[in-house]
Symmetry: C2
Subunit: 136 residues, 2 copies
């Protein structure tokens, strides 16, 4: 059992099962955002639905956030420690069309938008597509 992952789970009110610890560990070691199918590949013996529900639980409890990068599969990445997934916490994501990896640009927060009057904002999904530094 990893003390740190364990703590992290508890800090977000998630019961730390063996499965969850393993998933969180993979997510933490992962530098780029990962999709459910990709996660499945890393866990040959775990069931798809278990992994699915694990991700959903993590997302509900704001341990991870999801990114729809337009690749057809939703990807997930661990949130910053202080993140509450409010509009202020949102950052820009980068999708590399060459290596198909999705990066969290944590330093770049999504610009403010002045919506037409009558429209209210809840959240923003901003994905920049291009070529990443490794593929150039």
């Amino acid at each position: 059992m990893d003390k740190d992952t364990d703590k992290k789970l508890k800090s977000r009110n998630i019961k730390p099962t063996a499965m969850r610890e393993l998933v969180l560990k993979v997510l933490t070691e992962q530098k780029t955002a990962i999709s459910l199918p990709e996660l499945e590949d890393k866990f040959v013996y775990a069931d798809k639905s278990t992994l699915y529900r694990t991700l959903k639980t993590f997302e509900d409890k704001k341990l991870i956030h999801s990114i729809d990068d337009g690749s057809g599969a939703i990807r997930y990445a661990v949130c910053q420690d202080t993140c509450e997934c409010n509009p202020d916490d949102l950052h820009v994501h980068f999708y590399c069309t060459s290596c198909k990896q999705t990066f969290c640009l944590n330093e770049i927060s999504v610009p403010e938008i002045n919506l037409p009057s009558g429209f209210s904002l809840k959240s923003v999904n901003m994905v920049v597509k291009g070529i990443c530094i490794n593929c150039r």
Copy 2:
């Protein structure tokens, strides 16, 4: 046959078949972006794959643009006349979580982003989620 739709198709180098004229007409009359499944509902007698390929053709020829609003289905909307779908042509989209409609905010272009060095930009998908003016 509608002269205007016909002209519009030709101007983008698309052979104006009956099917395509009808689809373009629906897309033009539509105030919000529409998905393939939604389009299917409007064409009871047309085949899914035909509609699918029609949308793809339109998109290739830059008559329409696609929006991934995170709803699970890609939506399409007619481009502005001068649009070439370059990064400069890109505008923000608004997805209403109540009525599930997606609006093109044509007046609001996507803000510029300073990517980390080594990353190059090709396009941007920016979707703001919230409540639209009709649902408030």
